[in-house]
Subunit: 292 residues, 4 copies
């Protein structure tokens, strides 16, 4: 497909490489252009503005930091909304708010464009290995049309219905559940450590029984060893997602006490200078509180 | 082995059958004798007192409701502690407090008897299928000696060191982690339901990605469908275990906010008449609070 | 003083009457004009636009629902910011976000106007009796200039420094503390009720000893009797303030677990249809959870 | 009255002096006898056993550390229960569990003795000044009979009915409410401090308006200044009372999330070595978490 991709962060860059590898004709844009220039040899074009990346494409992917970045790129008077051809589709793959997803769906629809929310699960290494999980929601025929894109970056695509924001709700919920695992393991390891039991021993039992899942294996290993390098997902961004989840829950009038608990932990970690660490290092707040 | 088993509840009864099936010569005791009589045809003997079940055995298994039951059975002046032969081993397989485990280890040791804490993970159906997971702690040679017993009731045995209470800490921690999964799913499903997304759709995505573990599949299915029949583990007992976990954490000076959160939910469920339901039905508190 | 007042809700209306009573020449504006017309006989003028209320005044008071209302009234291209004379002062007396207060301070300053944040404590009956407490922050000479206004509506004015947002932080913190009193009493009364003790008996002891303060007497009486009529402050608005507090705390990287706890309660109350009730009726969530 | 008093801690000692001052003929007992000997000159007798202090008295007051101490003193085969004359009354003034109060009421009643639970509010300085608040529950005529004792140590006595445990529920609830004030102020001061506002300024506003009560003034001053000397009530004991409250709530099936929150804070403080500090110093956990 003739596609554009805006946002070459530690997720967007490997995704771009995989899109090229799969044969898509890709135009890329990044705010810091030097990062886009790294791809010069393999992409169709390096755009100098978001609008340029959205012109003449069938699909425009955004993989940017947050709502504010989407706002700037899309709703800017000279932005994506203006430049995207009628009939083309905007695929928002970053983690944005449910409300922004709703706004995007409406705005694109009003201009005869299409919109798919397709956030992904997976850290940079999964992005590099084209092993992301994609959760896509939007008009069925548009999702069908964009399959080659999802297949190029992910190992599996889940379709979450025709309402784009549903995919964002699911993505935020998934991230929320990851944080509950991190916190619950942090508390558990605090406890066993104080009883003289090695966290690794507990982890082996957990993952050898009811908790045999990647989320426990991966985060469990980091938290048990109290080593969080190399960081895949910054705590500051994790806190942002936590806020989006709480905002979505508020919007729907759903109490989410576990998200509130995690929120306090993340804020404490931020206040103590851990904003740029991997978000799993929030576990250290539990360790500290236990006097460890 | 020549073994005794005290406690034929919905876990103890199928365990007894599997011990017999594996060829152990079993004496059983149950407070309500009619339940023990069901096994008359297959066991060596139906004892009329706990002491009788503990006499002339190499290993005495207790699988009873709580600390109070252990207290009554073991520390009664005419109880197990008196009757168990020197050199024999008491295997406590029920979920008891860390403090009681410590007391048992000391008391048995003082009388030249041995003690192993070997609580199990798994619900009655796993007990029936001999698919329990056993977490055993105690003197290494005693654990080796009791392997045939663990193998008869479980699919795998984890050894958690020489200090018996470690196994109880791990068991309580495992149960705690299950409750965090239940609560986190309850909150997640509340959220997606209010956005018009089917809980089953979310669950499929979760278990198809990072959360591909029995605990998410099993409890997820129950909570997503809001059906908790047939109950495997009563909420009232789950609350008891939650209290034991909190007591152990208190003892070790470890804050466990997630356990506190779950505690409040379980107490609310109890107050609203759900004490005899499956403990996963605590999810209904989250649903109620969200106006569902 | 020659003053304007925008917003004649259940707080603004009695405040307007007291300003008139104190001799100020008042122009009023309300979105629903019929409400403003009630004051026709006593005020200088009933304005038909916010800008009209802000023209030709020394001080312009806003007492509106939320940030959005302030946004619409002030930052509208034909709004207060344009109409307010240079040298005049805008006094924001409603409960708005810390961030909005910061924006207002900057925007007014850039136009040679002044800004004071002066939120108030007190319910409609206190507003009617000119017994509000005013917390004012902003340039000292402006606060001195506006004293006659504060004196007309309140029983006491506290000065919180020269930075306007400080007053908003304090107001939000005060409201937060009220919610902690409500929740703590709700939990306490749940407990004593289940022990067969009358909430009123506990309340008498509390207010007769360490807790002899209006907040315990007033809210205590409502919660003890489970009667919340007539409502003075709607739960929906209380939830809004709770959100503003959490946002301010987030902004400053301060964990506020009690605010999170109250948040969940307020959201649960909203989900269960209590949005228009007095915010103290959130106590019913505690009662419900206790099976009362 | 001819009275005995067991327990001369930092509350019991000043209470003993005030009882003597009021003219009561007092026998005292303390585990560490040297402490009792300090009173030799003024009391009737220094007893060498709890039983001796309970013999030949009309009323026997216990003011000891916890349930365990009561257990040892009263239920010991040679304890108070045996020694107290028929018709005499045991007044338990320390903070004990609801369950222990129930046991005491039953045990004394079975022996033709009387029992009053009469826990007090107030710190050592209030005890020294005979300014305690007494909350008494038990048979009305016994309370009437003991008035002179209550009047000698306190400024006011509240009667909480004929069921002794009611007084303990109320006392625990009062202590719980104090902890909610401490925690809510700790969070509030964390917030304003990070906005550059002096905690003292906030406190002045609070106590000048809705929060004009001793509990806010006293604890507020300590927390605002981050100075907790001299400690009046040790954190370790505060945690004990928190546990008793949670146990009572559990017993009655009442969720008490605020108590759970405070519990986690107190445990964190204990784990970080603050067990012997004043319980208000738990506020430092909030400060730490905010990076202050």
């Amino acid at each position: 497909m003739k596609a554009g991709l805006i946002g070459l962060g530690n997720m967007g860059l490997p995704m771009a490489r995989n899109l090229v590898k799969a044969g898509h004709a890709l135009t890329v844009y990044n705010r810091k252009q030097s990062r886009a220039d790294e791809l010069k040899a393999v992409v169709e074009r390096v755009a100098r503005t978001p609008a340029e990346a959205a012109s003449n494409v069938e699909a425009l992917i955004t993989m940017v930091a947050d709502d504010r970045a989407v706002e700037a790129i899309v709703f800017n008077p000279e932005g994506v909304l203006q430049a995207l051809p009628a009939g083309a589709v905007h695929i928002s793959m970053s983690t944005i708010s449910v409300e922004m997803s709703r706004r995007l769906a409406t705005a694109h629809s009003e201009r005869g464009q299409h919109f798919i929310a397709a956030p992904v699960f997976g850290r940079p290494d999964a992005a590099a290995a084209a092993k992301l999980f994609v959760v896509a929601a939007g008009p069925a025929e548009q999702i069908a049309r964009c399959r080659p894109i999802f297949d190029a970056v992910g190992q599996k695509t889940f379709v979450a219905g025709e309402q784009a924001p549903a995919a964002n709700v699911i993505k935020l919920t998934g991230n929320f559940l990851i944080t509950t695992v991190i916190e619950s393991l942090a508390e558990s390891f605090s406890l066993v450590r104080k009883f003289g039991i090695a966290p690794g021993a507990l982890l082996e039992i957990l993952t050898g029984t009811l908790f045999d899942a990647p989320v426990y294996r991966n985060y469990g290993a980091m938290i048990a060893s109290d080593k969080f390098e190399p960081g895949g997902f910054r705590l500051r961004l994790g806190l942002k997602d936590n806020r989006l989840l709480i905002a979505a829950a508020d919007d729907a009038a759903v109490p989410i006490p576990m998200a509130a608990l995690v929120h306090d932990r993340l804020v404490a970690a931020l206040a103590q200078g851990m904003g740029e660490d991997d978000w799993a290092s929030v576990a250290r707040i539990a360790y500290k509180n236990a006097g460890l």
